[in-house]
Symmetry: C2
Subunit: 330 residues, 2 copies
């Protein structure tokens, strides 16, 4: 057994630590050669996951062939924007699991309308592999790598999902399976936008009551949108939807929640986009709202996040408008 982990950010590194601790050899692919060398030299990812030792079974490399050759499984933990380009140029693995939470809006061509794609679809197109699964849930890398108790979901075709479940499960990392691939992926992508909204509420000090109301209504909006794109409602109320929303919306670890907070305190979109770690929610909300506007779909909370981030709307005004919507039956 050999696993390739593609992407040496916090999450790719944490998954490598998890697997190696179970005795599985892991090739951890980093884009930059110097970074792979640094990981090998320090046996620690000082940039993205400081303080966690890399077990001997983790082999950092920047060589795609070395990482993929003979791998039974490839876990993709890249920024969503990089997935297509990187995987297109790679040797193929027999099975891919997307551990990336994002959406991709295809550019459309020849007058065709733009299509919103989930990461498993992007991976499938880039690799030509039939079966791509997804791993998602309330999973802060920092906690998984420190063996704090965590639950996660692997979604896709049943037999493959059960196999991946067995590969990844450990006493501190409980993996559930789901056949709802769209729902699990959409939950992971959409909650990042709601986490931005939660961060805005935090930054404006609007309080716990307002934040709870916003996230409750935001989850409903996520479901309206996610079920229209093929996810099952129950999935959004599970670990990969609500669970991940809680872990992100209420955590000090979360980049997305933190970015919302910084945004209302005056950080520019450019600063947030150029940070060391990718704020996936900023890309997701852009893809989402452009798509929703083109199709006339109403998503008030997602829209508000977009207007604040991309159109310079005053945050307190955007959030007040949400609160001021005519009260009706619950």
């Amino acid at each position: 057994m050999k696993v390739a982990v593609i992407g040496a950010g916090a999450w790719g590194t944490a998954l490598s630590v998890l697997l190696a601790t179970k005795g599985v050899p892991v090739y951890l692919w980093a884009r930059r050669r110097e970074f792979a060398e640094e990981l090998r030299a320090y046996r620690e990812n000082r940039t993205y996951l400081p303080g966690v030792a890399l077990p001997a079974l983790v082999w950092p490399t920047s060589e795609a062939e070395e990482a993929l050759e003979g791998a039974d499984l490839a876990l993709v933990a890249l920024p969503s924007r990089a997935v297509r380009e990187i995987l297109s140029a790679f040797p193929k693995a027999p099975l891919y699991v997307s551990a990336t939470k994002g959406l991709y809006l295809s550019s459309g061509s020849g007058g065709s309308s733009r299509v919103l794609k989930r990461m498993s679809q992007v991976i499938q197109e880039a690799t030509g592999v039939d079966q791509v699964l997804a791993l998602s849930g309330p999973n802060h890398a920092e906690e998984v790598a420190r063996f704090l108790p965590t639950a996660s979901v692997v979604a896709g075709e049943e037999r493959a999902a059960r196999w991946v479940q067995a590969v990844l499960s450990s006493p501190t990392f409980r993996v559930y399976t789901s056949q709802d691939l769209p729902g699990v992926e959409l939950g992971g992508a959409l909650k990042n936008v709601l986490a931005l909204a939660a961060g805005m509420v935090d930054g404006l000090r609007l309080g716990d009551n307002a934040k709870a109301a916003l996230l409750t209504r935001g989850l409903r909006e996520m479901i309206r949108f996610g079920t229209a794109l093929g996810g099952r409602e129950a999935t959004f109320y599970g670990l990969a939807g609500l669970g991940d929303l809680l872990a992100t919306g209420y955590s000090l670890h979360s980049r997305n929640r933190g970015a919302g907070e910084r945004l209302v305190r005056g950080a520019s979109l450019k600063e947030l986009m150029e940070g060391r770690q990718v704020v996936e929610g900023l890309f997701t909300v852009q893809a989402l709202v452009e798509w929703a506007r083109a199709g006339g779909v109403e998503l008030p909370i997602f829209e508000a996040v977009y207007r604040v981030a991309y159109e310079g709307e005053e945050p307190l005004r955007a959030l007040s408008q949400l609160m001021a919507r005519e009260p009706k039956a619950e």
Copy 2:
């Protein structure tokens, strides 16, 4: 128009401030004469809601006749344990709204089995009034009294609910209506138990991943139980269920969450029971688990809270058992 608020804790006081600010005269009833005098003297509830001035339209009193006479509406904001006894001895109002979040387990008599009652049912029996509504949602008193944006739900017969909605609504306090009285009341009561569990996770420093997983699964348990008692599933996913769970499970204000934290750090049940403010979740879980055990209903998370609080089970053991349940499909 005159409103009687029965109970001068934090929530009763906040509701009084809210109404008086809208120009509605409020009689705020406190059990102890000296406490009512103190409220009148300081124009502030220094014990339960310090730092918030009582508007002139709030009249604190310990005289039930003075509070209830000519009142169009009585808001009940008493500890759940005190509702039956206090209201039985009171003059009647034409309409009651329960703002108390708890459950009551009747003692049963003559071999009859014990019955779990919601607060609106207890109020109805104690007063003989036909129609009792309930107000519930993510509503920290401290934030409502400081006019931070808040959403809440009033549940019960439609016309009465719409009238109470109009009485309570303000630019910062958005009131929704619901016809699901059992669901709204059960959500408010059951989330206090899950907040105790959340506090235990916090106290043991198990991390954001574990807390998110526990609350996600806890909500499902709440629904299994709440729908069996007549609530609608959608209600538990709304403001009065999930919303209130978030506001309580993640807030530093919450007495219930804080009690869970103190419990795993060594506080005794007795200390927590004798605190200045009632930890409703401790009473609710007792009623609930005694009832569930008698009926053979399985509620693993609620059971774990009960065993830690009432049977001295080691908290880390109780929570680990929850995590270790066989993973299956999500």
